[in-house]
């Protein structure tokens, strides 16, 4: 092996320029892919945060008709919550009740989605507590507070400490109303919640909608995010019925799951395009490297180098080339990634509210996120492409007829 390594390494430096150009081309590809992936992942992370972490948790429990039809009376009994708490593997469970209401300040009103949450449990399941930009989230144990989405608060023209009136039609058909005091303002990144969402305590909303001890859904965080299905299976066996449905997050929102698979799809496309182009470069370099050495390789063969080792020799050469490319590429790409992660791409000049995509409002400064799997994919792709494109030259080298190649020139 060390012989193969020595010969391969020196051969690479025989055409210093050619090797460097080839490696640089691949390195630019590596850097380009790394930066694209970091940018994409930054966007997907934001979408993931809003679509899944904030809204879906790991497992959802609700009335089977509720997600589709949103009929107010399709509820769950609140006592189910204690049974979920008792289920092994439950880290935390948060109940929710929802209803639309007209929220009004002194002079303005707006249709709003009231989200009745348990002030104590909610922050343990979703990152909502971290999205508060003003004031605090609902104080545990108290009632009468309300936390408004940023743009809703703007539209109503209210701030911390102001009162808002909620008017809605209760489940019994009566017109209910209630007065709440603004304790906080949130910016969640969800276009809908920021524009029309308002959090109140679940007890308050049960009163307003006249749905005592009723819930619309329960969001659960389990102890193993990577292996949710068995937990959901167990819970389903324990509590599912005609009126109680248990779903994992991807069952609850296949759309979100598809969005996430799009992440992989688009990385594959980028990798494919870039390394398709770079691969042809390596193929050419390795071809030249084999053909210009026909005689030399023939001698090696005549002296008894086995065909398999001949393949090895050429492949080692291309792996070395790839390693060189990866080192340069990681340095370049690392720099770009660092810029994307630390500084991000600032669009606030033209889109100060941020850019919305699939109901998620992305921050106007889009920051990259580096996933090690992503970097590993890129590096893997370089080696794969180098090996794949030098396979043909390598096999040609192994098949060289020593007599023919010695006659060459």
């Amino acid at each position: 092996m060390s012989f193969l390594l020595t010969v391969a390494w020196r051969n690479l430096w025989r055409h210093k320029r050619r090797s460097l150009i080839t490696a640089t081309a691949m390195a630019v590809g590596v850097a380009l892919c790394m930066a694209t992936l970091a940018f994409n992942d930054g966007m997907f992370e934001a979408i993931f945060d809003v679509m899944i972490e904030q809204q879906l948790g790991h497992v959802q429990v609700h009335h089977p008709d509720y997600p589709k039809k949103r009929v107010m009376n399709d509820t769950l009994p609140a006592e189910i919550l204690t049974r979920i708490d008792g289920e092994p593997g439950t880290v935390a469970a948060a109940p929710r009740l929802q209803g639309f209401a007209l929220l009004g300040s002194e002079t303005k009103s707006s249709g709003a989605l009231l989200l009745g949450v348990d002030p104590e449990r909610e922050p343990k399941v979703t990152p909502i507590g971290k999205r508060v930009v003003e004031g605090t989230f609902l104080p545990p144990g108290e009632t009468g507070g309300i936390v408004l989405g940023l743009r809703l608060a703007d539209e109503l023209g209210v701030g911390l400490g102001d009162s808002v009136v909620a008017v809605t039609q209760a489940s019994d058909g009566s017109l209910g109303n209630a007065l709440y005091t603004v304790t906080g303002i949130v910016k969640t990144g969800s276009a809908q919640i920021d524009r029309s969402g308002a959090f109140v305590s679940v007890a308050d909303l049960q009163d307003l909608l006249v749905l005592p001890d009723q819930l619309h859904n329960i969001t659960i965080l389990t102890d193993d995010a990577t292996d949710i299905a068995p937990y959901a299976e167990r819970l389903r066996a324990d509590i599912a019925s005609d009126t109680v449905e248990v779903q994992t997050w991807w069952e609850a929102s296949p759309q979100s799951a598809q969005m996430m698979s799009m992440r992989d799809f688009s990385s594959v496309i980028v990798l494919g395009i870039v390394f398709g182009a770079a691969g042809l470069g390596i193929l050419n370099t390795m071809m030249m490297s084999v053909f210009e050495r026909t005689r030399e390789l023939g001698v090696l063969k005549a002296l008894g180098l086995r065909p398999t080792r001949m393949v090895g020799l050429i492949l080692v050469e291309s792996v070395l080339l790839a390693s060189l490319a990866v080192s340069i590429g990681l340095a370049l790409g690392g720099g770009l990634d660092a810029f994307l992660v630390l500084r991000g791409i600032d669009l606030s000049a033209s889109a100060k509210e941020g850019i919305s995509f699939s109901g998620v409002v992305l921050d106007p400064v889009i920051k990259g996120v580096v996933r090690w799997e992503g970097v590993a994919q890129v590096v893997g792709a370089v080696f794969f492409v180098s090996l794949a494109s030098s396979l043909w030259p390598a096999i040609r080298a192994a098949r060289l007829d020593p007599v023919e190649s010695l006659r060459a020139e």
């Binding site: 010969v7 005689r295 005549a302 002296l303 008894g304 086995r306 007599v403 010695l406």
Partner: protein
Amino acid sequence: MSIVHVSDLHREYQQGAVTVKALRGVDLTIEPGEFTALMGPSGSGKTTLLNMIGALDRPTSGKLLVDGKDLASLSSSQLSDLRLHRLGFIFQSYNLIPVLSALENAEFVLQLQGMARDERRKRVRETLAQVGLAGMEDRRPGELSGGQQQRVAVARAIAGKPALVLADEPTANLDSATAQGLIELMEKLNHEHGITFLFATHDPRVMEAAHRVVRMVDGKVAEDLRK
């Protein structure tokens, strides 16, 4: 046991529509320790025969035993191993690996054989000293004269202690004095170490030094002279 046993060996080349009969029934046996020259006019099949014996090319028909093995029955990997462990080659145009130093060129056959580093280095240094290249171990082929390069090639061929060294016109690219030196070197190796040599050559000095001269004409052995 003879080291090479060839009988009724044929080799035909297809060149477009014409069939070139390079060998037409060669019979030849070579015993260990012989120092044999193959001669004959250009195109008489010397190189072709050496290539057959060197397991570089396969005959069209006929029997070919090298080192006791029937080459027809060996796979290409087994042929590689036979070349690696039992045969040594010296080519007309040296054919050293340009990226390796003199030492490394002679060494890598041993390396492929799997010899341990220290033993290998020692052996190669001795061998290079034997061929008169002590002190030039670290030069690359481009920094050596033709004669010196051919000596490295000789060192490479004999370092692995082969049963048979095949040399195709080893002196053709060398000036007279250098060629003489090389012949003496090979004679010495034959004499002192008992290495078997088989040359293809036009060089009268080689024929003079040889103990046995096989003359080929038109792909056949026309004369076999032992001195």
